[in-house]
């Protein structure tokens, strides 16, 4: 009952924000990149919430619950990756993006490389990758919403999507940023509670918690390798390199392009806030591991954190549900916005008659609705067991495949549209085949994709561009 009331109030606040910022939907530039005038504080907090998905509160702790503390590597390696990325790449992306008038990954690629086919191919791939990525999120929204309100899973999936669609459709990126900041605060509250629980489990001393876990199975804390990489050290190196690329995922490009300036002081604020969610999410992962020792009964991995709260802090369960709901919504909303914008760019010629009749913003809104319906369908009928696998295949796989076209293409200065497309398509295909059919662990598969993409771009561009 309390959960339903709190969730209701939370949703009403979101809807008020959406209505308040509805005027931001007047033009494409204002709707998709919020007039390129967002302060690094707001944008940074929103980005932090966007970066951390359901993985930070449900998926990651689930992996830790089953395999030990292994997953925390990814979050810390990722934090360093975020900082370096923000410092070296965002000023470039923001500056070039404003100059060429880009509003997302596909349009950036098309205008930067100067060929229409780049926009078409990257746009469709981006939509496909984000769809895979968000199916996991949609499942998470369903689980959390049904726990909070008592509704069944199917209804919860649909209702969760409708709420996201309302503020996406009404206010675009500006609404997403404001809602994400609000939700980000909820997420930090949850992570802090996880830290408190880690202390509490050891009787007020976190070292006791560690020692208790260690005395049962030391391997829980020191990664034995499975299921990600053969050796812990390779996990650290692979994690760092692949998670550097994570920031090139299309759903965050809008935030980069929306930044108000590229002054070093603004970038410093952005970089200071960016990695914090990764660091704070580690507390939830640790709690997932601790649950293996401290929780007296076995639970479904993806629901381990809700179960811990239910057992040790039942009064804070509604808060956790809102935090987890926030974590999934913040990623899902930006992803739907980015996927729809990119698909619109890929299909510009096809939707032109419709665009003339109802306007560009409405076409993007229509694509958002279709994407959301597809997401609900997959989340209801093809529910993945571990949400993390599907998310990573779509998200990190695509981000790594983009290495040639983004990390190298932007830094190097040698622009070759053919190299950009070939490197992305081939490396995405190979990394997915390796992971799905050959059973290569996903981190290694993504790393192979990353190396392949970088090599292909460098070789093809060196031959073709003089």
């Amino acid at each position: 009952m309390i959960s339903t009331i709190i969730m209701g109030i939370f949703i009403i606040i979101i809807l008020v924000i959406a209505v308040y910022y509805r005027k931001w939907a007047e033009s494409v530039e204002s709707y998709i990149v919020a007039k390129r005038a967002q302060s690094p504080w707001w944008n940074g907090l929103a980005l932090t919430a966007t970066y951390t998905s359901a993985w930070g509160i449900l998926g990651g702790p689930a992996i830790c619950y089953v395999y030990g503390i292994i997953d925390f590597v990814s979050f810390i390696a990722w934090g360093a990756g975020v900082f370096l990325f923000i410092w070296y790449y965002i000023p470039k992306i923001r500056e070039i993006g404003a100059k060429i008038g880009a509003v997302g990954l596909a349009s950036f690629m098309e205008l930067y490389y100067g060929k229409r086919y780049v926009g078409i191919i990257i746009g469709i791939l981006s939509w496909y990758a984000l769809l895979l990525y968000v199916v996991g999120q949609t499942k998470a929204i369903g689980i959390i919403f049904s726990r909070a309100t008592g509704l069944d899973y199917t209804t919860s999936v649909i209702l969760g999507k409708i709420i996201a669609l309302i503020y996406l459709i009404l206010s675009g990126l500006k609404g997403v940023i404001v809602v994400d900041v609000l939700m980000g605060i909820m997420m930090f509250t949850i992570w802090s509670t996880c830290l408190y629980l880690l202390f509490a489990l050891g009787g007020g001393n976190i070292i006791n918690t560690v020692q208790t876990i260690n005395s049962i199975d030391p391997k829980l804390l020191h990664p034995p390798g499975e299921p990600y990489a053969p050796e812990p050290i390779s996990l650290w190196i692979l994690g760092f390199i692949t998670f550097f690329m994570w920031q090139f995922l299309p759903h965050t490009w809008q935030n980069y392009l929306a930044l108000r300036s590229t002054k070093k002081t603004d970038i410093a604020i952005f970089a200071a806030i960016g990695p914090m969610s990764g660091a704070a999410a580690v507390w939830a992962l640790m709690l997932g591991t601790a649950a293996r020792v401290f929780l007296p009964y076995k639970v479904v991995p993806d629901e381990v954190i809700p179960e811990v709260f239910k057992y040790f802090l039942p009064s804070l369960l509604p808060l956790l549900l809102i935090g987890a709901f926030s974590a999934t919504m913040t990623t899902a909303d930006s992803s739907i916005l980015a996927a729809s914008t990119d698909l619109y760019y890929a299909l510009k010629e096809v939707v032109r008659p419709l665009e003339k009749r109802i306007g560009t913003v409405n076409v993007i809104r229509l694509i958002m609705i279709i994407t959301a319906i597809l997401l609900c369908y997959f989340a209801i009928f093809y529910m993945p067991e571990f949400m993390v696998y599907v998310m990573i295949l779509g998200g990190l796989g695509f981000a790594c495949a983009l290495t040639g076209a983004t990390a190298i293409g932007i830094m190097w200065g040698k622009k070759d549209p053919l190299a950009a497309v070939v490197s992305t398509v081939l490396s995405l295909a190979i990394s997915q085949i390796l992971a799905v059919f050959w059973g290569v662990s996903w981190l290694v598969a993504c790393f192979i994709g990353l190396i392949l993409s970088a090599a292909l771009y460098t070789i093809i561009a060196s031959i073709r561009v003089h």
């Binding site: 810390i76 370096l84 650290w236 070093k264 002081t265 410093a268 604020i269 200071a272 990764g278 660091a279």
Partner: protein, 57 residues
């Protein structure tokens, strides 16, 4: 001019070495990093902010 160059070197040193140092701490003692990470990254950002504070216009 020389001062600008020194500043640039210092910036790269802070950003690259600072982040790699955080990673190394994480490999050696993960528990230390849990607390270091949420304070270290904002701290790194704050130092860089102050370095360029006068040039912000």
């Amino acid at each position: 001019m020389a001062k600008q160059k020194t500043k640039k070197y210092l910036e790269h040193l802070l950003v690259i070495v600072g982040n790699i140092a955080l990673l190394v701490i994480g490999i050696v003692e993960p528990w230390l990093l849990i607390f270091a990470a949420v304070t270290m990254w904002p701290l790194l950002g704050a130092i860089l902010y102050l370095m360029y504070y006068r040039e912000r216009e």
